[in-house]
């Protein structure tokens, strides 16, 4: 008969190791002098030939692609070079290995849409130490891990606007649900917080459920189906994510509740055009995502050229968008969201 004591030793050793881990010394990273281009640019000109890297939350997300397309367009105007580097899944830690490799490539500017504000922070701080200018856009990262964050619109306005749009459509009463992206998506959770605030102004509207479609088309479709089954009196759905709203619209347009349940949220005109025209969706909102990326590249170029430092009140030129001002906590706001409906949707192509 075999004696099986050894595994106990392994389990005990495991426990002991976690404690022994505490004894491991940690060293300081030696600070390296900044990247290639640290000399101040003469009289407020943006330096040419800057090297840009932009990192989406995940490759293959159409919304992110438009955003980073805008980033690339701005880089071209600025006479720099651009590389897109992104993870294949949107989990909290998937960007970290990529950031580590980007640091080794020593670009001048790294523009990033963060999957998780804190998971990427240590790697981004490391990037800053090496003289790389970090600009957040779309979804913020920890404030000390980037110089500037370009916000689509104020989070408060985005959250509150979506509730207002829905309220108009359902006469301010009935059960409503939210179909969000992943459960820990920074921007969606901030908007939902303000939606809850705004809902206090509508005593007859009741939020019954926040569902998570994980920015996955199939899952969002199933979650919509689930919402309709679980809440037969549901009057409206807000989906503050482009993947969610189009999956929900696809489900509603083929269900017998089409037209009875109002759907709004954030979507792209190209994805939603069909559903606006067939009456599934009356009105939804979005900013122009290409402009978000565009503005981020201009902000990064201004920082990397030492024209601004990211302090509140500083102004910088933003190409075709004119001029923008740095707000509190290094936040730069693009502008108010645009509402899309039958009347104007054909004017937009993205």
């Amino acid at each position: 008969m075999e004696r099986i004591r050894t595994p106990w030793a392994v389990i005990v050793a495991l426990l002991a190791l976690t404690l022994a881990f505490a004894a491991c010394g940690d060293d300081d990273e030696e600070p390296t002098a900044g990247g290639a281009n640290t000399t101040a640019a003469a009289d407020g000109e943006i330096k040419r030939g800057l090297k840009f890297v932009s990192m989406p939350k995940q490759l293959g997300n159409p919304y992110e692609e438009i955003e980073h397309g805008g980033f690339e367009a701005a880089v071209k105007e600025l006479g720099g070079t651009h590389e897109l580097v992104g993870p294949t899944d949107a989990s909290a830690s998937s960007q970290v290995p990529l950031i580590n490799s980007v640091i080794q490539k020593r670009p001048d500017v790294l523009g990033i849409a963060g999957n998780d504000p804190n998971a990427v922070a240590p790697a981004l701080r490391n990037a800053a130490k090496r003289g790389i200018t970090v600009v957040g856009f779309d979804s913020d990262v920890a404030a000390d891990a980037r110089k500037i964050f370009v916000n689509q619109a104020s989070s408060e306005q985005i959250g509150r606007d979506q509730v207002k749009i829905l309220a108009e459509q359902i006469n301010e009463e009935g059960e409503i649900a939210i179909l969000s992206a992943t459960a820990n998506a920074t921007n969606q959770n901030t908007w939902i917080k303000f939606m809850r605030e705004e809902l206090k102004n509508y005593p007859n509207m009741k939020l019954v459920k926040v569902a998570y479609g994980d920015d996955d088309d199939q899952k969002s479709f199933q979650e919509t189906q689930g919402l309709l089954q679980a809440y037969p009196n549901l009057k409206g759905i807000i989906s503050p994510t482009t993947v969610g709203i189009s999956a929900a619209a696809r489900y509603l347009s083929s269900s017998d509740k089409k037209g009875d349940i109002a759907l709004t949220g954030l979507g792209t005109p190209n994805q939603m055009r069909k559903f606006v025209k067939d009456g599934t969706v009356t009105e939804f909102a979005l900013w122009n995502p290409a402009d978000v990326g565009y503005l981020a590249a201009y902000a990064g170029a201004a920082l990397a050229s030492d024209l601004i430092t990211g302090k509140e009140g500083e102004k910088f030129k933003s190409g075709k968008l004119g001029e923008h001002t740095v707000g509190k906590n290094g936040e730069v706001i693009l502008g108010p969201p645009t509402r899309f409906n039958k009347q104007n949707i054909d004017e937009f192509d993205f």
Partner: protein, 357 residues
């Protein structure tokens, strides 16, 4: 199929020396691939052969590396544990929840490991006591444990762990370019290496993997040993969950998605037979180095999409299952064994696991 079973047995003793020889060559092959990757990597980017590459590549692979060690033993015993990445996430979620509740980390970490061990015991119970195939069981618990992680912590992600601990997980060992997590890995690699290759327990694991019936008839307590393997796999995955949470200063339920694929790839690429009975910890360590080098070289190269990392890992995984089979098939075709045309050797290798009664 009694006739085939006879062939199988008579084949074994003669093949043992040869198999060991082949195994040796397999590890040499992985090492050669590693060197090749280094050459290619350096030609793709001059940043490849640097201390920084080593630090970040090994840091990025820390959790997968830890999980692969325990997983190797499970696979040697002809089982599989696909739930490891979900146990990692559950451990991270439990860590977050207990930290929110105000417990000290020194107490939370042993609890997380215990939770992981419990998850492993659940897998082990379903496999050994109810006799279910581990592939099906752990695909089920892959979803189950990940779901539990979301139940535990929901849409939160906890980020306020003490800096002393997060620096420890993110930092390097005493001024060297070696991350602290790799020191942890090295200690565990030695521990698992000794356990698998130098103890009676390890020999039993090989015996079970090679022929579970023979192992049972020779008096090994097969169920109990397999149970321990799953418990260890769960405990180590939970440890990896602690490491990833501290290293990223973020505990959340969606960490480590897809890590099970890379861990299995490391084990199989390391020469551990997916049909059990063969393999070494050294091979797994080499395979991890190879995977790390591949990931690093592809992410450093200009303009190569991250999808390629997945494509290469998938291809290597298939290649490393296919490779040894092709070799055996070629040998058989040369006529050392009476001809068995049209049959894949892998079917024969699976025979000992078929129900006997």
């Amino acid at each position: 199929m009694p006739a085939e079973a006879v062939i199988e047995r008579s084949d074994r003793p003669a093949g043992a020396a040869r198999a060991r020889e082949l195994l040796g060559r397999w590890e040499v092959l992985v090492a050669a691939l590693f060197l090749l990757t280094c050459v290619v990597g350096q030609s793709l980017s001059s940043e490849f052969l640097t201390a920084e590459s080593f630090t970040t590549a090994s840091l990025d692979l820390s959790e997968v590396a830890l999980m692969a060690l325990a997983l190797a033993l499970v696979v040697v015993a002809a089982e599989i544990d696909l739930s490891v990445a979900s146990v990692l996430a559950l451990s991270s979620a439990v860590m977050a929840e207990l930290w929110n509740a105000g417990l000290p980390l020194e107490l939370i970490m042993p609890i997380c490991i215990a939770v992981g061990a419990l998850c492993g015991a659940f897998n082990g119970f379903l496999v050994t006591r109810l006799g279910l195939p581990s592939l099906a069981v752990t695909i089920g618990t892959l979803a189950l444990f990940r779901g539990l992680a979301f139940v535990v912590i929901g849409d939160e992600s906890v980020t306020d762990f003490p800096v002393a601990w997060t620096d420890r997980a993110f930092g390097n060992f005493a001024g060297t370019p070696i991350p602290n997590t790799m020191i942890l890995f090295a200690i565990l690699a030695v521990a698992f290496g000794v356990l698998l290759h130098a103890t009676p327990f390890g020999r039993s694991v090989f015996a079970i993997g090679a022929n579970v019936e023979a192992a049972r008839f020779s008096g090994l307590r097969v169920k109990r040993i397999k149970m321990w393997l799953f418990v260890m796999s769960g405990a180590v995955a939970a440890l990896a969950g602690i490491v990833i949470s501290l290293r990223n200063s973020t505990a959340a339920a969606n960490v480590g998605q897809g890590f099970e694929l890379v861990a299995v790839a490391a084990v199989v690429l390391g020469g551990v037979s997916i049909f059990g009975g063969k393999g070494s910890i050294l091979g797994v360590v080499l395979a991890l180095a190879l995977l790390g080098a591949i990931q690093k070289s592809l992410t450093l190269a200009e303009g190569i999409s991250s999808y390629w990392v997945q494509i290469v890992i998938g291809t290597l995984l298939i290649g490393s299952v296919l490779g040894p089979n092709l070799v055996r098939r070629a040998r058989e075709a040369r006529g050392s064994i009476p001809t068995r045309r049209g049959k894949w050797p892998l079917r024969r290798a699976a025979t000992p696991n078929a129900p006997q009664q």
